[in-house]
């Protein structure tokens, strides 16, 4: 199985309160913040690694020196300036096989252009799955995955919470969380997936090879890169390409007009005496009922 995982670098989302709007309102600045892999992408990368490994052979190597626990291929792709290779290296250190950097200025991109680029890479790489984060922690658009599926004409399952498959099968059984419950979908590959954090649950991914009763550790994010992984990542292939080389003519569909911070909250609190009074106020004053 071959999985293409797009990874975006974002300003450290744990310090999102330090993001500022420039004085003229033309852009959002994140000066002084570290770049991190978009956490939503990290969840999908973790799921992709689980789909393509045999945990029972962890740490074992074949006669050719290749790790026996890897039974598929995960290819990372990032679109951004040269520095974005650091995000790809992190994913390689976590266990992905190789990386592709598509060089572009961050300011020249929107969800549509990202989907165009990913479609071109997918057509070149022919993966079984393109596995995206459902959104990025900076723009929070939640659009690129859906546009990509449309451009490729591939089936799409957004917000996956679990995935099950068998070796040699061309089908995935995916559950997704909806407001009203859980939906189970059988989807033929190639397909486009996005995930939620529930994909990190210890038993959310079953690939039919890793022992059925294996439980991954509880975690808020993807696996940590081990020191072995960090050293091995140095030797993994990393291809650099451009929009032109991929034959992409970028067609932006979004233009940002102006950025402004939300107005400061007033912080007014009203103490009510009874539930009846609360309902009345929610209806007549807050107008939310």
């Amino acid at each position: 199985m071959k999985i293409l995982v797009p990874v975006k670098r974002v300003a450290d989302p744990d310090n999102a309160n330090k993001v500022k709007v420039s004085d003229d309102g033309t852009k959002v600045t994140s000066d002084g913040l570290e770049w991190k892999m978009n956490p939503f992408d990290e969840w999908s990368l973790e799921a992709a690694l689980r789909l393509t490994e045999d945990v029972s052979k962890k740490g074992m190597k074949g006669d050719d020196g290749k790790p026996l626990d890897r039974i598929g291929e995960v290819v990372l792709v990032s679109i951004g300036p040269k520095d974005a290779v650091q995000t790809i290296r992190q994913g390689l250190a976590m266990g992905a096989e190789r990386g592709i950097l598509v060089e572009a200025e961050d300011s020249s991109l929107d969800s549509h252009v990202v989907a165009q680029v990913l479609a071109a890479v997918a057509q070149k790489e022919n993966p079984d799955i393109v596995f995206l984060g459902k959104q990025s922690a900076d723009g929070d658009s939640n659009v690129a995955g859906t546009k990509l599926a449309e451009m490729l004409g591939w089936p799409l399952v957004n917000y996956a919470t679990s995935i099950r498959t068998e070796p040699g099968s061309d089908t995935l059984t995916v559950t997704r969380a909806l407001d009203g419950g859980v939906q189970t979908i059988e989807v033929k590959m190639p397909c486009v997936l996005t995930s939620t954090d529930r994909i990190l649950h210890p038993e959310s991914v079953k690939n039919g090879v890793t022992p059925e009763d294996h439980k991954y550790p509880e975690s808020e994010g993807g696996r940590y890169a081990s020191l072995k992984g960090i050293m091995a990542a140095k030797k993994k292939p990393l291809e650099e390409t451009t929009l032109e080389a991929l034959g992409v003519t970028p067609k932006r569909t979004e233009e940002y007009v102006k950025f402004a911070l939300p107005p400061a909250r007033e912080g007014k609190a009203t103490v009510v005496e009874s539930v009846d009074e609360l309902v009345e106020k929610l209806h007549s004053e807050a107008k939310v009922l």
């Binding site: 650091q86 992190q90 250190a93 994010g221 940590y224 890169a225 081990s226 960090i230």
Partner: protein, 391 residues
Amino acid sequence: MSLFEPTDEHRQLREMVRAFAEREVEPQAAAHDRSESFNLDLFRQLGELGLLGITCGEQYGGSGMDAVAACIAHEELAAADPGFTLAYLAHSMLFVNNLYQNGDEDQRQRYLPKACRGEAIGGMCISEPGAGTDVLGMTTTARREGDHYVLNGAKMWITNGAISDTELGDVFLVYARMEGAARNELSMFIVEKGFEGFKLGQKIEDKLGMRASPTAELVFADCVVPAANRVGEEGSATLHMMRNLEIERLTLASMSLGIARRCVEIMNDYARERRSFGQPLNRYGQIQRHIAESYAQYMAGRAYAYAVAGRMKLDAPGQRLDTDGVKLFCSTMGKEVADRAIQVLGGYGYVGEYRVERLWRDAKLLEIGGGTVEAHQKNMTRDLSRLDRLR
């Protein structure tokens, strides 16, 4: 790349350890401090990440990295939990690195892979109830009897000596003197839990700080050690000890750096948010002095430590003056920065929830353990007395 991360691998190492420390280590620190207990499960996760054998060769399950990498790992872990990090240091530097540098092939094969995976918890024994800074005043003896040695004596303040109230750690490097040997001729032995005559004297309770690392007194009463477990020649271990003490001091100093960084972050955050007399605390000169001096001293210590780490060779001694110097400076710096953090936070700094009181208690140990500041002053002055000019 920078002094603190000379290569891209060092940068990635720091990122990885910091993420692990923030997500996994920090949340458990207060509880293990309170209960004076060792988090064995978390410790074993360090093995999966390759940190337990960070400077050990890959052929024995290690990661084959250098002194700078060791500093990074200790600095980042200590920013979250110095007590836990001390147990890591005793295992990975005092046992794994020491045996990797000084052991023979058979000893490395027998002990290092398990230690790198965290299946065996290791430590090192130098101090005794009656001998600390006066290392060569140790009285533990060894004598040869046929195919084995017999050890007698007691060792004190042994980190990882016990992994619970009643259970010994798994394997130790023990320094002792052959009966009748000269004062400066020490020998080293690998002693395992289960060897006849090797006992837990007591788990040491009620420490001021570093409570998440277990400390014990270990007793050797006619303890029988196979001859194959003597490391190096009889009488040759004083050199092993000196060589390994250099990386010990450097990594202990790195722990002080981690403590200092965390304290600077906490006091900086607090002084921005907390208001007094109508404006944030950090508008006041008294508070500015605490924050700015702490940061400058932290960065000075950091520059000194990484400059020494960058030229350190793990298989050769030769950095005693500066490894002593780094620890002399950083240990007291860490304690003072933690003290200032408490002062900036006022009453909040004095309670556990704000973390700096724990870091302050932990920081104090680093002025004592792995060489008291007085020992560093003694060693350094002796080394300096042989120099006319500084290069």
